[in-house]
Symmetry: D2
């Protein structure tokens, strides 16, 4: 069986997923593409011998489409995900699941009403080998109960369109999901501290930001978000337990000695850093469709991330500790 | 286009490649399988909805087979590779290309007579990210002309059937190809030094062995082969140039602190260490077939490795430095 | 010239300094020792052929004593330091300089009145090779203006007598001085976050603690203090600047591969970690006396650390951000 | 008690030891200095308030001299060491103990005739923390019986006066002693392989050289000597045992991230790399004199190093494996 996939949104990330499904993932093929820019949809579809359709809804309705990938503009996510659920089709939605917690809840409700898990949200770090090894160490009890987690999220540079809220909504949201998944518990409050800004900044941008989260058990997680760090893309994470710690390695690189120094290259962007994780994410997603056993980040995870992001954004604006108010998790989501 | 692949030899490595072609590589499918054990051929073929054929020659002759993978018993390699060339089909042959240099030469001659490159030999290290980065550093001139290379090849343990010559023929052969490829020159002599044997050995086995190679330009390469090192699978390589050095990193692993120690897991077998390299090897091989532009390790590389292995085996037995006598490389092989 | 040194307080740290001055530091000798326990003073003095005197004041007054080392019980520090200033003698005082900011100020005032720098406070990290290299990198401008600093201070275990305030007053005080020195600016506010406590704790102890400091320029420093981490003594520090970062290395240790792991020992206590720093601290202190050019951490640094510690302790109790109110730094202190 | 030390030879290394004895080592002072250049002896002596004497023999005979340090020109070593033994005085001799094995034997015989251990040879690596930790791991049995050792000795650059034999006599001699000490057995043969020379060489110089040693138990040790490696001073050592390995760490350095790279400084010379080892060497030597219990590298170790160096030099010239013919070790040397 080959899973027929329809892609809604043919921008940079959409094109990357089209390439991935075509060149990397076995057992799946892109059969339809839609984009607000019809010419772009046509161009991307033709590369992989798929059809360009007029609208996202057309993709959802298409008979050859078994599963939908939503990589369109954020504000349109909810509509397409709800459409896919309505059509009883599997749907992979890049984060955010929706731009408001209310819309996330509508999706959660619709999915429950449909009676089965159809939605996966694009939190690819759960597929990174390093994070998976860290989770294995934590779950093994080897370092005891987690008490603290120290995280760093640095980008080489951000475009001028990047504004302070995006440090939470676009950037920290990855750590927010990762924290929940690694520690297997929810975040209950958020605080944001504003360090002196880098002078390599835009006027409007608070960069770096230093975020503090508290989990249900009382563990504390700190996160540096610094999107104009200049030297590379750098993701760090250390979990501190009662009897030990576990830390992500730096990405592999050959070691060169020369000119008085020992040196290794630092990864420059998220594609390099998480390319293998994206590949595995789609490979496992397609497998889970073949097996009809969805296992990735759920609509509920998308909802929780939205609520926590909103609280963190409020904390950024207010300067105060903001509580996270999540609904009770339905039994449907395990 | 989907490349139809016929697999001759359904043992451990053959099965692994069948799985790889099916689950990992896009654009290819296994269409036929043969094995000396017909029941095994049947079993492996049925897993992937392919046909079991009666013989290797039947696989080569099969109309659905565009390209052949030879993973049968070493002494049969030459026959099947020659058969594939005869049939004008692409063929991927696990090392060794043939068990004698003479047979390798027959293949080289047949391929040249056929007028185009059809043969690729399974030297997967050329597809390892670390080795590729090392080659890039060497080729960039960043460390100057290479003068020395220090290599280590350790296996956790070897079975009783493993005998001293296999340290060259089965184990060091990977470094032999890697050295030629990294330094872009041939090996002209070999010497083998016999250290005190590990007491965790079999009576018949000289383990470890310490090999010394000289290249055409006079660079010297040393290689420790230790196949019962007990602690894991460990591949190390450092190239020393006139102005600097480059070294393979250890495989990525999370760092755990606990019980007074900082520690990381060591990879335990070649599947873990080179799994990604095998995947890329087949992905690029299939792409090269689609493009009709073969680019991997050639029959000539297989021949050279055979001649150098033979010289090294002779050096092991004689205790002397043994010269490597290679034919002149035909223009056909670039 | 040999500097005659009188030691007030012959407990563990006092004895260690007596040994250091005798066995490690050239150009100095211990000539007199006092302790509240006269027998202990006698025992320690006799080891190095010095005299045991009846009181700290007797040590200060002794003609053979050129410089005083104060390692007695914290509440007595101020009296002895003031006594040494009164006598016009150099004095090295282990932290804290005094147990209240008021007493620190009295010392600062007395020293200024005396017209010359006589007091050095025992902040030994300024003598650690790693921290010095970090300061050099920061001062060189190589990483740009510092924006953030991430610090970790872990002890294997704390005795039952250790209570929550000591995480600030005894432990974090080292980072408080280090931050001021590395960034060359003062701390203006403190906050303490209380994570879930380790179950390997005493009822009365908040452990770990997570502290946040703001500097005058707006840089933010976070510090994990965890005094029952179980696995060793672990000091980490990363400074994040506008264009790069600099990080302390882990202490040197041989790398062992065995039983499936790559591992190194973690240092177990502060003597191992900072032994060389203590040695250099005293070597430079004695040199500075010989040259009559005091250069180490000053009474003002001791005063600032006391004020910041007090604010941090208040922050621990209140849960709020607490401002640090320092007097203006007198020109006397550069 | 203060040990009065007389220094014969006030060149670079002699001056460094004068400084070390004066500024670093407690319990000792330089009381007399001699040099072939009387003005230089005067200058160096005056720095530390010692007397300049007319000759090495005058230093040996001087009543204030309890122990002699020989740092004169190599060919004069034997005479001064024999003179010190004759005078019944402790003597520390920089390597080589003597320039011929015969002279080393005369020293060994004279020392035995004197009835007590008086001579220590300057093999400072035995005092390096990393090598000591490695020895501890080997001796603990943690990695099983040693089978192989891989060593690297790189210098940034060598002066024009440095010729090929010096790679053995001046450079590899340190590893020769270290191997014997770490493995606690003797070297029985040597071979030298000559790689392509660096083009950053002098015409007369074979650089790098690759040496191979065999020990009495059959362990094999390889050593790269490369004295114009350009990038720094780099000492590496890995011991491979039956069940594991142990490796020297790189010298500690802060880690900087910037401009796309993670980097650390490489040590540039032996003073940086082994400064602490030299300090400890002299501290322990002076202690051993105070205790009258010599424990460092002995005259026998100096003799063995000389014989092995000679064999290695012969191997360099002949291209053959050369056997090492050592006398039986007298019971006097344990």
């Amino acid at each position: 069986m080959t899973v027929g996939i329809g892609v809604i949104g043919a921008g940079m990330i959409g094109q990357d997923h089209v390439r991935r499904i075509t060149d990397v993932v076995t057992g799946a093929e892109v059969v339809a593409v839609a984009d607000v820019d019809a010419a772009r949809a046509e161009e991307v579809a033709s590369r992989v011998h798929a059809r360009a359709l007029a609208s996202g809804q057309d993709v959802i309705d298409d008979d050859l489409v078994d599963a939908v990938v939503v990589t369109s503009w954020g504000p349109t996510h909810a509509e397409y995900v709800l459409g896919a659920i309505e059509a009883g089709k599997y749907v992979f939605c890049e984060k955010p699941l929706a731009t408001t917690a209310e819309d996330c809840l509508r999706i959660v409700d619709a999915e429950q009403a449909s009676g089965r898990r159809l939605v996966q949200v694009g939190f690819m770090r759960r597929y990174d080998a390093g994070y998976r090894a860290m989770k294995q160490v934590i779950d093994s009890g080897e370092i005891g109960a987690p008490l603290l987690m120290h995280c760093v999220h640095r980008n080489r540079s951000a475009p001028e369109s990047y504004h302070s809220d995006m440090a939470v909504q676009d950037t920290a949201i990855h750590e927010i999901d990762t924290i929940r998944w690694l520690l297997d518990e929810d975040i209950v409050s958020a605080q944001v501290v504003k360090p002196r800004r880098t002078s390599n900044r835009f006027e409007h941008l608070q960069d770096p930001q230093f975020m503090l989260f508290e989990t249900a058990s009382g563990a504390r997680v700190d996160l540096e978000v610094f999107v104009n760090c200049r030297y590379g893309y750098d993701i760090q994470c250390e979990t501190v337990g009662e009897t030990g710690t576990v830390r992500l390695p730096d990405p592999e690189s050959v070691w060169v000695r020369g000119a008085g120094q020992l040196r290794a290259n630092v990864v420059q962007d998220w594609k390099q850093r998480f390319g293998a994780a994206f590949d595995l994410e789609f490979t496992e997603w397609v497998s889970s469709i073949e097996d009809a056993r969805p296992a990735g980040p759920s609509a509920w995870d998308g909802y929780a991330a939205a609520v926590i992001s909103d609280a963190t954004t409020e904390a950024l604006h207010s300067g105060h500790v903001v509580s996270v108010l999540l609904k009770d998790r339905p039994a449907f989501y395990g």
